[in-house]
């Protein structure tokens, strides 16, 4: 198990998760691993920006509402830093306006919690498809 993980980590695309909710940080990397991706979880946008994963992350799964820098603010920040990482937003607030807003700004998808595993996979695949 350990060896498989290490081996896969080298060639599997990295999907990072930023969410202040612990249960998400706990559950989502396991699901992403099942999908075949490398996964890292961060509890805030600040933590993510401070890590060495920014450049390697191929897809960012981002919570909308967080203490400190919010999801849409991180989206803007990354654009300013010209780190155009494809983003899939996840949110517990069923607000179409927020969804429309972030998609207009370039997000791949915005999923309302709780979302199905297939919906998530579809969004990630869309994010990772070659341009």
């Amino acid at each position: 198990m350990e060896s498989r993980q290490v081996r896969r980590a080298v060639d599997r695309p990295l999907v990072s998760v930023v969410d202040d909710d612990e249960s998400v940080r706990e559950s989502l990397p396991d699901l992403l691993g099942e999908f075949g991706f490398a996964a890292r979880a961060f509890s805030s946008a600040e933590e993510f920006l401070a890590s060495d994963c920014v450049d390697q992350t191929r897809c960012l799964i981002l919570d909308v509402a967080m203490p400190g820098i919010s999801g849409p603010e991180l989206q803007r920040e990354l654009k300013l830093r010209r780190r155009e990482i494809p983003i899939v937003f996840i949110t517990a607030q069923r607000e179409e306006t927020v969804r429309r807003q972030v998609i207009e700004r370039g997000a791949i998808e915005c999923l309302f919690k709780p979302f199905s595993d297939t919906a998530l996979l579809e969004a990630i695949n869309l994010a990772l498809r070659p341009k």
Binding site: S23, K113, P114
Partner: protein, 865 residues
């Protein structure tokens, strides 16, 4: 008296008086006297002359006039001097004479003794008219009949003299050349001699009297002789003429004969007379007996009795006033004749005159207005007591003072000019009736008066009666009225308030200026209900007509708000208040104030709109926040559950299955499920902080409180609320505040549902009634737009609303509240327009609980909002 009676020479007397002669002023030089150099008085000479005159008065009264003339000539050194005396016959002096004659002249005019001049057209007449000394020059220029009297008079100084206060003649001196002119000293001496003239006159008259008495006695004797022969014939003629009553009588008291005039006076007939039934003693009332006795005494002494007034009884017992005079027949000693003059008519006239004079006197004495009497010199003759009150003058002190005293200085000259012109030409310089002028009080204060004048001409003299009314109070009142009218107009203008009166019976409507301005109509347009109607907003016409109808029959205060639609399609909001009164004929009349409240109303609407938007925003925001927070709190663990379960399934489906991973994710799923459950428990606890207060309450009373709270809003929305609350409604058990929130919610919904209704009155009916099974039912009916039948079930769902500013949450909460009260809330479409919302709740408290944990908290309207 030398020369008296011998004259009658060549002087043509009044004869014919040519017209176009010189005016009086042109032949008068009186004023010059004072200006001429005066010679010093020669008192010694004067005294000598006066002593001579006095001795002449005593010693030779017969020549007294001649002596007086000589004295005048001697002292004044004039060319001719003489006297003029009033006379009736040109010979004997008489105070009421119509001519002057010249009894004595010395000097150059001596030959003209016995001549004279007319009373009303000559120098002497002028002197008496003006009642003062006059100096004439060439008076023949005005009085041509004096031309032949030579030599002509260069100057003539004339002085009036009096006896017993009555002017009886003049003394005069004449200069026939310019040798010397009369001066002030002559004037003084002449005035002094005038006094002697009156003594001279009286002495002379005394002599004349003696002559007359002698002559009279001779005449009387002659008459008696004539009487004896012709008396009976004369009496007979008198008797038959019946001009006056004539009776024959004897001292015994019998009337032996009488003419028709007498019989008519006492209303007896000839038979009575013939039968001796007419006795003067019987005709005489008792109180006149003494007077009769005196007449009889006189009769016995002198043969006649002076006429006196008394009364006779008529045959019918009434009294008749008479004048009785008579005489004894010569030589009879017992019988006589008398005349009886019926004074009835005279007495009546006299009494009427006395009454009228008395009435006039009382009016004048008690009048509150000033009454003044002014002669043709402009002097005050009489002033009534009101003069003291109004002008501050004692009426007595005003007598003889000029009328101009009562005027301010600047008006006096104007008055004099006008007054003189009127006397000369009859032309009035002002309106004599009710002219407003300024008067002057004794204390110098000026004040407005209303003046009317009347005139009477008597004995050739005009007198004027003026009525002066102090109108200062009226003026002040007029000014105050004008000022307050101006204030009112300004206030109406500033407050955008007009006023009107409406006489219901005649339809006569009077508008204030401001009301015309508000309605944007010309001031000249006559106002009618129909005209007003053309301005009333079409949607308010029903209201307007209902108001007019109620006002017609109601006669009570009323107040209403309506809108005007102006020709430019702008809308004005009006607030009218009217109060009924009765006019002088007892007819119903409304007095009303109408305020243009457009500006206020627009501000209120803007404020209300802002407030309602704010309320809505707050409601949506708080609701959104609530639901969002609930969703967020629940979605987090749910999301974990779903993700873990998905992972778990995938791990189990792997080859080989990752059982350890699956176990771990399943364990997390359970954990997150428990977390969600805890969350719901926390939320419930949050909502259950308050508990309900259950009590027995009167639903009608609760409704009245709600109505009181929402009345202004309902009125603003032009909703007409009709409560039909059942009497003796049983009490219900429940939470008063919550039930009131439901009622408020239903009323607001109904009001909102009618906000677009303009073609019918916005009637809102709220009704309570006992319902089956010991319940009470409340229903609220509107006439609004209603709803589709299929929407009936959805009405009570949360978030469902047929309106923009939806109260949907309110209906859903209302239903929760009612259901918590073990009641039912439902809606049914009306037969006509609109909907009826009803709820029915039980009266008894069974099953109701205040335990929030078990029954769940009853959410309230305010929470939802």
């Amino acid at each position: 008296m030398s020369g008296y009676g011998k004259s009658a020479n060549d002087v043509p007397l009044e004869g014919s008086i040519p017209t176009g002669t010189a005016p009086l002023e042109s032949i008068l030089r009186t004023e010059e006297l004072q200006r001429r150099p005066s010679r010093p008085p020669d008192y010694e000479k004067e005294n000598r002359a006066l002593v001579k005159l006095v001795s002449a008065l005593a010693d030779s009264p017969g020549t007294i006039f001649q002596t007086l003339a000589e004295t005048i000539q001697d002292i004044t050194q004039c060319d001719s001097a003489g006297l003029s005396l009033l006379t009736k016959d040109g010979k004997k002096p008489h105070v009421e004479g119509q001519r002057f004659y010249w009894p004595a002249i010395c000097g150059m005019w001596n030959p003209h003794v016995g001549g004279g001049t007319p009373r009303n057209f000559g120098p002497c007449g002028d002197v008496l008219d003006q009642n003062r000394t006059l100096l004439f020059t060439h008076f023949e220029r005005r009085y041509p009949y004096l031309m032949p009297v030579s030599p002509t008079a260069e100057e003539c100084l004339l002085v009036p003299f009096y006896v017993d206060g009555k002017a009886v003649g003049t003394i005069w001196g004449i200069m026939h050349s310019e040798r010397r002119k009369f001066d002030a000293e002559d004037n003084r001496v002449m005035a002094s001699l005038g006094k002697f003239a009156s003594s001279a006159y009286q002495s002379w008259m005394h002599i004349e009297d003696l002559k007359i008495q002698v002559a009279q006695r001779e005449k009387a004797e002659a008459e008696v002789r004539e009487l004896a022969s012709g008396l009976e014939a004369k009496i007979r003629r008198l008797v038959e003429a019946n001009v006056v009553g004539i009776v024959m009588w004897n001292l015994e008291g019998t009337i032996t004969g009488g003419n028709e005039a007498f019989l008519h006076t006492v209303q007896y007939d000839r038979e009575d007379l013939a039968a001796g039934r007419v006795r003067w003693k019987d005709l005489t009332p008792l109180e006149w007996s003494d007077r009769d006795e005196r007449a009889i005494d006189q009769l016995k002494a002198t043969g006649i009795f002076q006429p006196y007034e008394k009364e006779f009884f008529r045959k019918d017992g009434g009294r008749v006033p008479i004048l009785l005079g008579g005489a004894l027949f010569e030589g009879s000693g017992n019988e006589g004749v008398a005349f009886v003059l019926d004074l009835t008519e005279q007495k009546r006239q006299e009494s009427a005159r006395l009454y009228s004079e008395e009435r006039y006197r009382v009016v004048v004495e008690t009048a509150s207005d000033v009454v003044v009497n002014v002669d043709d010199k402009g002097s005050i003759v009489f002033a009534n007591p009101a003069t003291a009150t109004i002008f501050g003058y004692d009426p007595a002190e005003l007598a003889g003072k000029p009328l101009t005293l009562l005027m301010p200085a600047y008006m006096r000259e104007l008055h004099q000019t006008g007054f003189s012109r009127y006397l000369a030409t009859g032309q009035r310089h002002m309106n004599w009736q009710g002219t407003e002028l300024t008067a002057l009080r004794k204390n110098g204060e000026e004040f407005p008066v209303e003046v009317s004048f009347g005139e009477i001409t008597r004995d050739g003299h005009k007198t004027f009666t003026g009525f002066l009314r102090d109108i200062s109070k009226r003026k002040q009142a007029e000014q105050a009225l004008r000022r307050s009218e101006a204030f009112l107009a300004e206030a109406q203008h500033l407050s955008h308030t007009g006023s009107f009166s409406w006489r219901v019976a005649t339809g006569e409507i009077t508008w204030s200026e401001q009301l015309y301005r508000i309605y944007e109509l010309e001031n000249s347009v006559p106002v009618t209900l129909e005209l007003i109607r053309t301005r009333v907003h079409p949607e308010d016409l029903t209201l307007y007509e209902r108001m007019v109808e109620e006002a017609r029959i109601g006669a009570s205060d009323f107040e209403w708000q309506y809108r005007l639609l102006m020709p430019d399609h702008s809308i004005k909001y009006m607030h009218a208040l009217a109060r009924p009164t009765r006019d002088q004929d007892g007819q119903l009349e409304y007095i009303a104030a109408v305020q243009d409240v457009t500006a206020r109303r627009l501000a209120e609407e803007a404020r209300d709109k802002a407030r309602s938007e704010l309320t809505h925003v707050a409601r949506v925001t708080s609701l959104g926040t609530l639901t969002a927070s609930i969703a967020h709190e629940l979605n987090q663990p749910l999301s974990g559950i779903v993700t873990n379960a998905s992972t778990c399934l995938r791990m189990l489906a792997a080859d080989p299955p990752n059982v350890d991973g699956a176990r771990e994710t399943a364990r997390r799923t359970i954990r997150d499920g428990n977390r969600a459950s805890e969350m719901i428990t926390r939320l419930r606890a949050l909502f259950s902080k308050k508990s309900t207060t259950i009590q027995a309450l009167d639903l009608n009373e609760a409704i009245r409180e709600v109505i009181a709270l929402s009345m202004s809003e309902l009125q603003k929305n032009r909703v007409i609320l009709r409560p039909e609350l059942a009497q003796d409604l049983p009490l219900v058990t429940g939470d008063r505040v919550q039930l009131q929130q439901v009622i408020l919610n239903l009323l607001r919904n109904a009001s909102d549902a009618m906000s677009t209704v303009d073609d019918r009155p916005r009637d809102l009916l709220i009704r309570t009634e006992p319902d089956d099974n010991d319940r009470v039912r409340l229903s609220v009916s509107d006439v609004g737009m209603g709803f589709e039948p299929q929407a009936a079930d959805k009405l009570f769902e949360a978030f469902y609303s047929t309106k923009n500013e939806g109260m949907g949450i309110g209906l859903s909460v209302s239903r929760s509240i009612i259901e918590h009260h073990h009641g039912r809330l439902w809606a049914t479409p009306n037969n006509g327009p609109g909907v009826t919302f009803s709820f029915s709740i039980p009266c008894r408290p069974e099953g109701l609980t205040s335990d929030g944990a078990r029954a769940g908290r009853i959410p309230s309207v305010s929470d939802a909002a």
